[in-house]
Symmetry: C2
Subunit: 478 residues, 2 copies
Amino acid sequence: MTMTDFSTTKPTKAEELRQWISAHRDDYLDALRQLVAIESVSVDPQRATEVRRCAQRVRDALFDAGAEFAEVFETEGHPVVVGRFLQAGPSAPTALVYLHYDVQPEGPCEQWSSPAFAGVIDGDAMVGRGTADDKGPLFMHLGALRALIECSGTLPVNVSVIVDGEEEVGSPSLRSWLEEHADMVAADLVVISDTSMLGLDEPSIVLGTRGNTSLEVEVRTLDHDVHSGKYGGAAANAALVLSRMLASLHDADGAVTVPGFYDEVTEMPAEARTALMAAAPDAQRWLTGIGARSEGGEVGRALVERVWARPTLEVVGVWAGYTGEGMKTIIPAVATAKISCRLVDDQDPVEIARRVGAHLQALGSGQADVVVRLGRGGRAVTTAWTSPVLPVAMDAYRYGYGKDPVLIREGGTIPIAATLGEIVGAEVLFLGFGLHDQNEHAPNEWLSITNFERATNAIVRFWQLLPAALTQPREVLA
Amino acid sequence: MTMTDFSTTKPTKAEELRQWISAHRDDYLDALRQLVAIESVSVDPQRATEVRRCAQRVRDALFDAGAEFAEVFETEGHPVVVGRFLQAGPSAPTALVYLHYDVQPEGPCEQWSSPAFAGVIDGDAMVGRGTADDKGPLFMHLGALRALIECSGTLPVNVSVIVDGEEEVGSPSLRSWLEEHADMVAADLVVISDTSMLGLDEPSIVLGTRGNTSLEVEVRTLDHDVHSGKYGGAAANAALVLSRMLASLHDADGAVTVPGFYDEVTEMPAEARTALMAAAPDAQRWLTGIGARSEGGEVGRALVERVWARPTLEVVGVWAGYTGEGMKTIIPAVATAKISCRLVDDQDPVEIARRVGAHLQALGSGQADVVVRLGRGGRAVTTAWTSPVLPVAMDAYRYGYGKDPVLIREGGTIPIAATLGEIVGAEVLFLGFGLHDQNEHAPNEWLSITNFERATNAIVRFWQLLPAALTQPREVLA
């Protein structure tokens, strides 16, 4: 990989920007604390008013940071807030940043070391629901934008910011809102700050997230459960038929046997694989951390590749027959399984679910009635190894964290990333600053103040260097 | 098979006996109606007093029929009633008859055509809970014994009658009661009248019932469920591991693959197989009646052999992971299955469960922690094809029903039959007079009055001819 070394082209006013960020850090932490105090728990209908109040405060914060436009947009659910920083002017490229202001429920209050919505500072940590996910990152971006505007009077790129109010409930309103406001979200690059780094001193860039898809399969061998004495040996057992179907979905080497499952999956370039292997956490610790009795996935591939860069098929749940206390001597008529797949590259969620379903239908044919119910899913999102924005991001982390970032991936799925990439029609870059131990979705969620400041500096650097990368022909980013 | 044709040795007073039975039939139906009126529902603690009252009435009925001894024995549950008809004297052989006086709950009252405990006569049917199961058969036996005593002043054999009060709840007290009263139940033959014939005009003898055994297997691959994005491809999936284990328990021909599973199973003698095939109900109707989408059991064996005379292994229930609404993207840490086997010949319930459990342990080894919980079971009971009591039973049915009986089996299990055979140390004969459509355990249970009279005659004939068979060397019956 050839990479322009932007770090040698020292930006003007670099020291001034650093100082501005350092000097105003506590102001932004105060503003963050005030936002944390608003209980914007999107899943709780009792707190819908708080969610709306939070949206209004976010709009105000966008204006405070220098947005030329900021508005709370109503949806069928909670509002979407938009801020537009168009200081760079119509000839400059535009980036779209996705964040969210809603939070998870606080859970058991007695497990919090300080009140969940207080934002108490304890050493390097601000403790509170939403400090890490995702109100902290919101203020990292607002601080970076404000710093640039304050120190240079303008911005190197135009930046549109979408702050979702329904991320924690699956963003049900966002797609249609995006489609209806295509002009407002038009951009040359989508930036998502919702992923995690390996650690505070291990800056890392997530080059890709896996997609997912799901389906449910119901197998029926009989009109109803029958007595295992009267019919055992005569009637096909739905639990056994389903077990055989599920058992055959992987071969002896752990590869998925569904015809066409790997059709859109490509092997990683050697360089990318090498980088991935270098970035990989210790495989053994990965497994012992969850008490794994054995390994899953494809034989002959490294664990990190299996989790980050290969598709999987898992049985999420299965049930049949009698599952209560003691024993009931029946042959079950019906057996059901929930199946979930992780996807990579160009695997289409609908098409993969359809192929798995068709294969299950074929497996059960002649033995049972097989009903398949297709679920929802999202595509994988990958930043190309050759993308011109990648060296920019690497330089930004190096600048913010004083250390070369490693290039990693995440096995999970961020459905909104694929949606944004698709609707905006631009490349997606994960510019994430999370830490793995921040207790997101758990009691004692916290934000590292050191990380807050480093990330703000990294974002400033990213916007400064981005225009050079985006002035390359648009096709490169497709 | 050589069979003594007892029907040519016309018993004395045969016509007199038939007439006595015909003349007293309505008296016995009256007595049955009075017993049906007592709501001896053993599962219902509210009706424990009724159960006890029924036991006392049974004792009285035993005395009325000519018992020299009759008593209600207390147990930890409901009482056992014993009647002894020892008129044949100490040098004559003794048979032990097992019956029960408790009944199933009546279920939804509005579905009964007449009150559940009224014993209303409707054409050839007496309708009521317990008329068929098992108060009717009790009076068939009492009528037969009384007829013999009335017409000849004695009995050809001594007959001990045990009338259980807990059959419908699994006879929890009976085994220890039997062990404590070994002298009272000593016998040369155990007779159980709790099986069914193919029809009122299709007399049939059940030559064997299958045994059963059960176990539960729990497979653990992880300390707890994990996120399928973070660990999919790394962690072994308990649901998939269990599916593969269950799928491997039968080979492609439907035979059970557990080592040693068939060790105690023998092939039927050709003559027995021919008789079984001749007696078999229509296989296609058997399957369409339950809406079977395909067949189970061992390829290459007739359906009737598979259900009546071969062991099976069924998954009764299975569950793992997320089974609620929608989808949860997890990898299940634990998967559990309940397994039930039907046994034949000398398969020991404890040993077979142990072998299946050990095989499951071996299958999961290296992949998962496997915990096996062994359940309870009962042995198969088979009347030997060469048993000297078989021709006696055949003659009895021929005499009572005017037609040669066919020799059938039952795929289900009557645990008490094995227990009685084992504790008494004698051969077990199923002398059953049930009809398959009598709604036992359902609303509108009924008894055919024609069947009642025919069965009483058959039992008389059976006792008359039995001594000749039992005077053969005792070893023959072992």
